[in-house]
């Protein structure tokens, strides 16, 4: 599938109808989502024929992108039942089989090295400090091949240090810097739209034996 086609499909998805600020619900736009998954597949082969998990899937954008790029099995986890309903409908519209699980990403317990790749646009931690790193910590325990994640560019050094030193990542690379345009979703947003500089990261977890679950 070409990048433009992928972006087109993602642009047609339904998004949060009543976003919940305490969960930092912001849709991952089709521009970022398509580039994220396209790179994961074409530069690293981390998507097609793989088992892919979307942590904090919201309305399913990233998981759906993975499925469209031929991931063999995709599942998405989110704490919010309303988003999951929208995600289900989105997947159904595109005739994709994606398993959705309602849960706090941080509470789930996984068996075995089944998940190849974790993809996520985690909460940035504006409401609950350090939320994005909590997600990253879990992702690095679950994925056997790679973790793709978005974090604010302003936190770049901190993210790298945490991943390598605290979460046992074998490598942590910024693949590219993107502009995340956040539309005026919440009442407290003063401007019509803001542009946040975000890094698209690729982390490689430590090999399975040395992980402590």
């Amino acid at each position: 599938m070409k990048l433009k086609e992928l972006e087109g499909h993602l642009g047609s998805l339904d998004q949060f109808s009543n976003p919940k600020i305490e969960l930092e619900q912001y849709p991952t736009g089709p521009h970022i989502a398509s580039r994220m998954l396209f790179t994961a597949e074409n530069s690293f082969g981390d998507v097609s024929n793989k088992v892919v998990a979307d942590f904090g899937c919201g309305c399913g954008t990233l998981g759906i992108a993975a499925a469209l790029l031929s991931a063999e099995h995709v599942f998405g986890i989110d704490i919010d039942p309303e988003s999951l309903e929208i995600a289900s409908l989105n997947a159904e519209e595109l005739e994709l089989d994606i398993d959705f699980i309602q849960s706090n990403v941080l509470d789930l317990v996984w068996r075995g090295p089944i998940v190849d790749t974790v993809i996520m646009n985690p909460p940035f931690g504006t409401r609950k400090k350090g939320a994005d790193l909590d997600f990253l910590s879990v992702a690095l325990k679950v994925a056997s091949q790679a973790v793709y994640s978005l974090h604010k560019t302003s936190t770049r050094d901190h993210v790298k240090r945490s991943a390598l030193r605290d979460f046992n990542a074998r490598s942590a690379e910024v693949i590219c810097e993107l502009r995340y345009d956040v539309p005026k979703l919440y009442k407290f947003h003063k401007k019509k739209e803001v542009d946040i500089a975000v890094d698209l990261w690729r982390f490689v977890p430590a090999s399975h034996q040395s992980r402590s679950i």
Partner: protein, 122 residues
């Protein structure tokens, strides 16, 4: 929810020592065909907990899987088809996943299991 997902999920209640596998209470099971991918199946075979997988598929009403399996069976198309069918084509739409230690039920509705813990379970 497909059985591949079920084979990864464990009960996450605080204090539970062995929360895998979750027992399946199947209310409504739906079958959806999807193209078979032999390489993927061979890859998955070594990662699957076979006993839990067979038990789960039996709960979903599918009894064609052998109780025990080894990788030589992957040469058989018949085996691959059954493996594929149970792993990826059976969907639990309504029912529950039950913690093997505490008996706590995690309801499954519209294919989505609700694994959210209550405050005292975290």
């Amino acid at each position: 929810m497909r059985l591949l997902t079920h084979n990864m999920l464990s009960s996450n209640i605080r204090g539970v020592v062995n929360g895998f596998p979750l027992r399946i209470e199947a209310g409504k099971v739906v079958e959806k065909n999807v193209e078979i991918n032999g390489d993927f199946l061979k890859n998955m075979f070594v990662k699957i907990d076979w006993k839990a997988f067979v038990e789960a598929s039996q709960s979903m009403g599918y009894t064609e899987l052998p109780e025990e399996a080894d990788s030589s069976m992957l040469d058989s198309d018949e085996f691959l088809n059954r493996f594929h069918h149970a792993l990826l084509e059976l969907h639990l739409e309504e029912g529950a996943l039950v913690c093997p230690e505490t008996g706590r039920r995690f309801p499954v509705s519209k294919g989505i299991p609700n694994m959210l813990l209550h405050e005292d379970e975290v």
